[in-house]
C-alpha cells in the first residue's frame, strides 16, 4: 500500500473501497515505528488509532454517515489540546499535563472522523525554528538527517514529509508552519489572522499566532481549511468567513494577476541557490499570465526585532501561569516561600523559554517600554500600512519562504542573532495578520527550497488559487527515507 498519497486521494480511495481505513492506519503506525527512531517527529502515538480506524470501516460498510476525513491519519503539534491526552508543548514543565478539553480545531476534525495518530515534536512552547529547543530532543530533516527540519512545527512537517501521516496541524507565530514546510518540502499555511480558532492552542503570542495545516498538496490545505476555519464563540478574534469553500474554483489560474516581489527579501543574506529558485518561481508565475514587479517594504528590516519584542512580551505574560501550582510536575511545597518556590519550579523551562521570559519582562518594563515594546508596536503598525498600500497595487506578494537552505543541527543554536534572521521573510505575515503559504519548489544538494506567497487579509481563496497554479509547474523527487 502506498502511503504517499494526498488527503483528497486518501478520501477518494476509501470512498471507492480501494483501501480500508484500518489497513492504511495500521501501515501508517508501522511506518512511524520504522522511521521515527531516526526522525523523531512524534512525542506520543495514539494507541487507539487502529481501533478507531476499524470502527470507521464498519460504519462505511453499514452505510452510516461518515465525516469528510474518512479516518484520515493526522498528526497534531503538541501545543494543541486533545481531551484526555498529553499536551506537553515539548516542555518538561508540562511533561504530565493531560488536557481536560478539546481545542476547537480538534472538535471539528473529530466531527469529520479524522484519526489523530499522534502528537508531534516542536520547539518548547513553539519558541524556535529548528526543533532543537524541544526538551525531548530535536526532530531530523527526512531529506538529510544531519540537517534541521525547521520549526517550531518541525514534527508536523517531518511527519507529513516522511509519510507518517497524511496531514498535520501546526501553529505559526512567526513562520512556525511555513519554515518547516519549506525545509521539509511540504505545503504550509498561515491563514488570515482569525480564520481558524485558537481555542485550545496553548498560548505563546496571542495577537499574531494562528493554527495552520501542513499537507502534501495545496488542494489538501484548501480541504483542511474547509474543515477547521470559521467563527468560534470561544475565540473572540475569529472572523466570519461565511463558510467559504476554498477548494471550489482552486484551478482558475492567475492570468492577469499582479504580483509584487518583496525587494527586502531577495537582497542581503540570501543564499544564491534560494535566490535562483525564487527567480525561477517568478518567471513561472509570469508564464502563467501574472505580471511581476518589485515592491519595497522598508519596515521589513525592523520586522524581526519588532517580532521578538512583541512575542517575548506576550510570552512573558502567558507563561507566568506556569507557577507549578495549577499545572506542572510533582515538586513538594514544603520548605519554600511562595516566590522562591515558583523560581525553583521554573527551572524546568529550557534555556530558550527562560531567555524569552527574561526578555518578556525586560522590554515592556517601566523605563524600557518606550525604547522597545512601544517602538515595536509602531513598527508593526507602519509595516501593516506599507503592506496594505502594496495590496492596493498588487494582488499577491512573493518571496522565498526562508532565505537560507536547511542548515545542520547545532550549526546556529549558539548564535541567537543568526537564528533571528532565518525568520526575516515569514514574520511580516504574522505582524500584519495576512495569509501566507509556503509551496515546495526546488532542491539544492538534496535540500528543499520553498516559495512563499502572501495575500491581503481574507483573500485566502485567491492565495490558494495562486499557490495551486505555481504548484502545478513543479515536479519534485520523493523523500529519500
Amino acid at each position: 500500500m502506498n502511503l504517499n498519497i494526498s488527503a483528497l486521494d486518501f478520501v477518494q480511495e476509501v470512498k471507492t473501497g480501494n483501501i480500508s481505513v484500518e489497513d492504511f492506519v495500521a501501515k501508517t503506525i508501522e511506518r512511524i515505528q520504522n522511521v521515527d527512531d531516526k526522525l523523531h517527529a512524534f512525542l506520543s502515538v495514539n494507541e487507539k488509532s487502529i481501533d478507531q480506524a476499524r470502527d470507521i470501516d464498519k460504519r462505511i460498510k453499514s452505510g452510516d454517515k461518515v465525516g469528510d476525513c474518512f479516518g484520515m491519519p493526522i498528526s497534531i503539534k503538541d501545543n494543541i489540546c486533545i481531551k484526555d491526552s498529553k499536551t506537553t508543548c515539548a516542555s518538561k514543565m508540562l511533561e504530565n499535563y493531560v488536557s481536560p478539553y478539546d481545542a476547537t480545531v480538534i472538535t471539528k476534525l473529530k466531527q469529520q472522523d479524522a484519526i489523530f495518530v499522534g502528537k508531534v515534536n516542536m520547539d518548547e512552547f513553539a519558541m524556535g525554528l529548528t526543533t532543537e529547543f524541544s526538551a525531548y530532543g530535536p526532530s531530523k530533516n527526512p531529506w538529510n538527517i544531519e540537517h534541521v527540519p525547521g520549526g517550531s512545527s518541525g514534527g508536523s512537517a517531518v511527519s507529513v514529509s516522511a509519510f507518517e501521516c497524511v496531514a498535520s496541524l501546526g501553529s505559526d507565530t512567526g513562520g512556525s508552519v511555513r519554515n518547516p514546510a519549506s525545509f521539509c518540502s511540504t505545503v504550509g499555511y498561515k491563514p488570515t489572522y482569525g480564520l481558524i480558532s485558537r481555542f485550545g492552542l496553548i498560548s505563546y503570542a496571542n495577537s499574531i499566532e494562528q493554527i495552520g495545516p501542513l499537507t502534501r498538496t495545496v488542494k489538501d490545505t484548501a480541504f483542511m481549511l474547509n474543515l477547521i476555519s470559521g467563527l468560534d464563540p470561544n475565540d473572540n478574534t475569529t472572523i466570519d468567513n461565511k463558510n467559504e469553500d476554498y477548494l471550489s474554483g482552486i484551478e482558475v489560474g492567475i492570468e492577469g494577476k499582479k504580483i509584487g516581489i518583496i525587494k527586502e527579501m531577495i537582497g542581503e543574506g540570501i543564499d544564491s541557490e534560494v535566490l535562483s529558485a525564487t527567480k525561477d518561481a517568478i518567471s513561472r508565475l509570469e508564464s502563467l499570465g501574472a505580471t511581476c514587479e518589485e515592491i519595497s517594504l522598508d519596515m521589513v528590516k525592523y520586522s524581526v526585532a519588532a517580532y521578538y519584542t512583541i512575542t517575548a512580551t506576550e510570552a512573558g505574560s502567558n507563561l507566568a501561569r506556569y507557577d507549578n501550582l495549577r499545572y506542572g510536575y510533582d515538586f513538594p511545597l514544603e520548605g519554600y516561600e511562595f516566590n522562591s518556590y515558583i523560581s525553583k519550579a521554573r527551572k524546568k523551562f529550557g534555556p530558550e523559554v527562560t531567555r524569552r521570559m527574561i526578555i518578556g519582562g525586560f522590554v515592556p518594563s517601566a523605563g524600557h517600554a518606550g525604547k522597545y515594546f512601544l517602538k515595536a508596536l509602531k513598527v508593526k503598525s507602519k509595516l501593516t500600512n506599507e503592506v496594505n498600500e502594496a495590496f492596493k497595487r498588487v494582488d499577491l506578494l512573493v518571496s522565498p519562504t526562508v532565505p537560507v537552505l536547511p542548515f545542520k543541527l547545532g550549526e546556529k543554536i549558539d548564535d541567537p542573532i543568526s537564528l533571528f534572521l532565518v525568520d526575516i521573510n515569514t514574520v511580516t505575515a504574522n505582524l500584519t495578520g495576512k495569509p501566507a503559504i509556503s509551496i515546495p519548489f526546488a532542491y539544492s544538494n538534496g535540500l528543499p527550497i520553498g516559495i512563499q506567497l502572501m495575500a491581503d487579509s481574507s483573500q485566502d481563496k485567491l492565495l490558494l488559487q495562486a499557490a495551486y497554479a505555481l504548484e502545478q509547474t513543479v515536479t519534485l523527487p520523493e523523500v529519500p527515507i
Binding site: 473572540n236 521578538y308 516561600e337 518578556g360 525586560f362 509602531k378 503598525s381 541567537p416 533571528f420
Partner: protein
C-alpha cells in the same frame, strides 16, 4: 545598551533563577542589543493601531460549570482550593 545587572534584576522580578550566567544573561544581552535596530526605524510619530471588538460582539458573560473533579488533577489541593507555599518565610 543595557547592563547585565539590569537583566539580572528583571529576571528576579520575573521569578526566574539564573545559575548559568553565560547561557542566560549574556545571550539575553546579545538579543536585547539587537533590538537597538528599532531606534533607526524612524517610527516615533507613528500611531499604534489596535484591533477593536465591540462589546456587543463579545460572548455572554455567564458562568458555565466545567468539571468539579478537575481540581483533583492538581498535585497540591485541599477541597476546592489550590494549595500554594506560604507567602513569607
Amino acid at each position: 545598551m543595557v547592563s547585565e545587572e539590569e537583566i539580572q534584576h528583571v529576571s528576579k522580578l520575573m521569578r526566574i533563577d539564573i545559575d548559568d550566567h553565560k547561557e542566560y544573561v549574556e545571550k539575553v544581552h546579545m538579543m536585547i542589543d539587537y533590538f537597538d535596530i528599532l531606534d533607526s526605524a524612524g517610527v516615533e510619530s507613528e500611531e499604534i493601531s489596535m484591533p477593536e471588538i465591540s462589546i456587543s460582539d463579545l460572548r455572554e458573560d455567564e458562568y458555565i460549570p466545567f468539571n468539579d473533579k478537575l481540581i483533583e488533577k492538581l498535585n497540591h489541593y485541599k477541597g476546592t482550593y489550590v494549595r500554594a507555599p506560604k507567602m513569607s518565610s
